[in-house]
Amino acid sequence: MCHQTVSLAARYLEQHGIPTVIMGCAKDIVEYVGVPRFLFSDFPLGNPTGRPHDPESQAFTLEQALRVLESAPGPRTTVQNPLIWSVNPDWKLDFSNVARLSNEEIARLRAEFDRQKEIAKGLRDKTAAA
C-alpha cells in the first residue's frame, strides 16, 4: 500500500501545483498508478533511499532523485538507480513467492494476516471515532 499511497499523493500534489519526485523500490506499482517523476532503486522493499549503513550509496541515491526532480522532461519519468543490491539477483525470488512456501507456512501466514488485520481495523476505527 505504501507505494500506492505515495503515488496517489504525488499525483494529488502535482494537480495542485507542487512538483514531486518519488523514491521507491516497487517499480510496477508506482508505474501502474502513474506518477510524474520516480527514482526506482532495484533494492529489497524497505531501502528506498540507499543501501543500509552505506552513506555513499545513500548520498548517490538522493542526488539521483534530485536530478530527476529538476530534469524530468514530462510525466511518467522513471529513472533507475544504477546501484545494485547484490551481484547475485536471487533475492528477487523470495518476496511473497508462494512457490517457495509449504502448506503449513501458508496456514500460519493466513492466521497471522487475519490477526494483524483485526489490529489495524481496531486502530482505524479508533482514529475515525477520535
Binding site: V21, G46, G50
Partner: protein, 180 residues
C-alpha cells in the same frame, strides 16, 4: 561484468524488477482470500514543472514511516509486521531535529533487509547536509508522515488534502516523497 556468477555479460532471466502486483495477488489468493486487490491505475498523469532552480527551492520531505511508539510492541529493527504501529492521520515533525521513525507497520522485505539503518528509508539527516551544501535552497521546516491506507478513497479524500494544506502552509516549492 565478470562479477556475474557465470562470467557472462547477460543477466539471468529473473534479474528484473520484482512484479509486486502479481506476487501479492497470487500470495493472497493462495492464502485463501477472494478477488485480488484493485490497484489505482490512471490514464492521465499530471505534471508540474519545477519553476526555479533547486538551489533556490524549498523542498519538503514526505514519508510513510511511523514515529516509534514504545507502548506499541516490537517495532524493530528486524520486527515482524506490526499493525499496532500503524497511523491513520497525517503527522508532521520538525526537520531541524532528529526523529526515530520505524517501518514495522509496512510490508517491507523482511527476508533480505532488517531495517537497521533509518537512513535507508528516512533521509532527513542527509537532506539537512545537502541543503547546507547549497544544492537545495532550503529544507522545509517540517517533514510530513502520510498514512498508508488500503482505501484509495480515504487516501485521496482525507489524507492528500491534509498533506497539501500542510505543504502550502510551509510554502514549499517541491516535495520528495519516499515510499518504504
Amino acid at each position: 561484468m565478470t562479477d556475474r556468477p557465470d562470467g557472462s555479460d547477460q543477466a539471468p532471466d529473473h534479474d528484473v524488477p520484482i512484479p509486486y502486483r502479481e506476487r501479492i495477488s497470487t500470495y493472497y489468493q493462495t492464502l485463501g482470500y477472494g478477488a485480488p486487490y484493485r490497484w489505482a491505475h490512471y490514464a492521465e498523469v499530471p505534471f508540474t514543472p519545477l519553476d526555479k532552480p533547486l538551489a533556490e527551492s524549498r523542498l519538503a520531505l514526505v514519508t510513510t514511516a511511523a514515529p516509534y511508539q514504545p507502548d506499541k510492541g516490537d517495532q524493530g529493527p528486524g520486527a515482524a509486521y506490526n499493525a499496532a504501529a500503524k497511523f491513520y492521520q497525517v503527522y508532521s515533525g520538525d526537520t531541524a531535529v532528529d526523529h526515530d521513525l520505524r517501518i514495522s507497520h509496512i510490508g517491507y522485505d523482511r527476508t533480505h533487509t532488517a531495517a537497521t539503518d533509518s537512513n535507508s528509508w528516512f533521509p532527513l539527516p542527509l537532506l539537512r547536509e545537502v541543503a547546507k551544501s547549497g544544492r537545495l535552497g532550503e529544507l522545509a521546516p517540517r517533514f510530513h508522515g502520510a498514512p498508508t491506507n488500503r482505501s484509495q478513497r480515504v487516501t485521496l479524500e482525507q489524507n492528500c488534502p491534509e498533506l497539501l494544506a500542510r505543504l502550502r502552509e510551509d510554502q514549499v516549492d517541491a516535495a520528495l516523497l519516499v515510499a518504504v
